[in-house]
Symmetry: C2
């Protein structure tokens, strides 16, 4: 049914390799045979089989991307990366791990079995044996968002300066006159969570402010976590007063806002807030929300380019023993979009 090189060869009366050369435009072929072959190929709608090519070349021209949740902002990352990869002739095998370490693990294995030429991983896990197969055979892996706890030789990543992100939020609050600043942060097990907490502490200390552990709530980066943490902070507000809260992820920001609204409190009059990755496309949200943002599209294109470089280098060195010298951490600066929500409003 499907035409292949062999059939074209038979029909055109030349050998398979000649047909292959014509199709790929390689080597010297007489115009006559070239045309004859092309004509037959066209007539029978020949389409090269990349699976066979991949097997032969040990190269699939496919990049694996695994993210915990395609929503929020990762899709912007993927879009930027896709555009680079398309130019370079690569396509994307995408997986949404659903914040589930087991699922993530399964995808890591699956993508290796499918022989992706490289992997981009935003992990939610703290055990990463499955990655060993990549490291062993030097299939490049680049981490985004979270940097897992692995052999530093493989710490190739493009991540945000999370500590700085938090410090920027604290700075903005302090500039307004806030001194009692709460934080709703994510899971400490993930580097994104831990670093954002560290940045908070450092930021507070940098301004000579005392840190009240009761004002530090650990969410799980989910909407509900943000909501619950905010509720708790508000409940204890008499005992542990605060005028401002920094919420360190998008989903948690949504949750926190919901909790505040539910309590009938006004931003920034009753509580000032700085969110994370909270971009308002509509311009309709009032008050405008001050937010830390990561340059996610940049991250997408930087990761994509970096991965392509790694792939090319690997091909050139043939023996990939030198990965150690190649791994590099690329750390990008966050930005802050100042809005009305972080203002300090005096009086009750």
């Amino acid at each position: 049914m499907e035409y292949n090189l062999k059939k074209i060869a038979e029909e055109s009366g030349c050998s398979i390799s000649t047909v292959s050369r014509v199709i790929n435009g390689k080597g010297k072929i007489s115009e006559a045979t070239k045309e004859r072959v092309m004509k037959i190929a066209r007539e029978h709608n020949y389409v090269p089989n990349q699976v066979a090519r991949s097997l032969k070349n040990s190269k699939t021209n496919t990049i694996g991307i695994i993210v915990p949740d395609i929503r929020d902002y990762f899709y912007m990352f993927i879009k930027a990366a896709d555009s680079i990869f398309f130019e370079a002739g690569y396509s994307i095998l995408l997986a949404d791990s659903d914040e589930n370490p087991e699922k993530e693990d399964a995808y890591i294995k699956l993508m290796y079995e499918k022989r992706v030429d490289g992997l981009i991983l935003a992990t939610v896990s703290d055990h990463h044996e499955a990655l060993d197969m990549y490291f062993r055979s030097s299939v490049p892996v680049i981490f985004i968002d979270n940097l897992p706890n692995i052999n530093p030789a493989y710490e190739d990543c493009v991540i945000l300066d999370n500590s700085r992100a938090s410090a920027m939020a604290i700075d903005a609050f302090v500039k307004e006159g806030h001194t009692d600043i709460a934080i709703i942060s994510g899971n400490e097990r993930e580097t994104t969570g831990m670093e954002r907490i560290q940045g908070y502490i450092r930021g507070m200390e940098g301004h000579g402010l005392t840190i009240n552990p009761k004002l530090m709530k650990m969410g799980n980066f989910q909407e509900l976590g943000g909501y619950n943490c905010m509720k708790e902070l508000l409940k204890n507000r008499e005992k542990e007063p605060f005028t401002a809260v920094y919420v360190s992820s998008y989903k948690m920001t949504c949750g926190a806002l919901r909790a505040i609204k539910e309590e009938g409190l006004k931003i920034p009059k009753d509580i000032a807030l700085i969110g994370f990755d909270f971009i308002d496309n509509t311009g309709l949200i009032s008050p405008t929300i001050t937010t830390i943002t990561q340059p996610i599209e940049n991250i997408g294109s930087i990761v994509a380019k970096r991965l392509l470089t790694r792939i090319k280098t690997g091909e050139e060195t043939e023996q990939g023993e030198q990965i150690k010298d190649i791994a590099q951490k690329i750390i990008l600066s966050p930005e802050i979009l100042e809005g009305e929500s972080s203002r300090y409003v005096k009086g009750e």
Copy 2:
């Protein structure tokens, strides 16, 4: 470097086929050899090569998905589909065509070359020769969002009842007392655009309202299109008055809202508005925006299930001559989320 069946066979002293059987758990194998083989496989971190399997089996366990823009709401579609496909052992080859017909075309070909087992396509194009290769070899293709102009035998799709969507918007406006209702619609060349216009006309006529062509603006589904159309409507407002506008896509809704805000007009007092797929996760937008929505997560899981069925059927029939009888259009109902933006406010 990489271990394969052959090496395991050599090391274990049995044949390649035996090793294959052990790895796949097929056929009768003595416990002794089974354990011997498994031990060696484990020791050397054997990972089966799916590329080779795919070549042999003519099946990649991969589904192609092409969307014009992963943003907006398609990512929700992908998430829902991914979850179904994962269960079934399929992974997703994702492409963002960037609203670009040429790029879309390239991806359609590429995915065929990579031998995806099925394709989900949200097309922006009006020529679809590239799809012929799928139809010829009966690789199932399911359309979402837009239904292209093709042989009805291949019109397999899961789409929104776009006409009904518009009619629902008109109904909501009329119920409030609006009679001068403008529409900002998308490209007429795409079925989504055309049907939403038809629904508007039908809806207006159904209420005995006269249709003023000057109040019908054609955007291109983009933010800027929505913005420009809204600007134009507002400019001619003296000559062609209207109290309400229905904007028939998410991005155009954003643009229209921006234009209204820029002119310093109030919703719904100066202009009432109904948007499309305009979901406010934050609950912070005021006034709340009335919007038509499509059940995009449903679409994702329905398409995925449907595609898996098509794939299975194709495998069973072996000869795919019966596709005609299989193609089916699944048309889903839109919903309307009523907010404040569509109210009728009397007086100037």
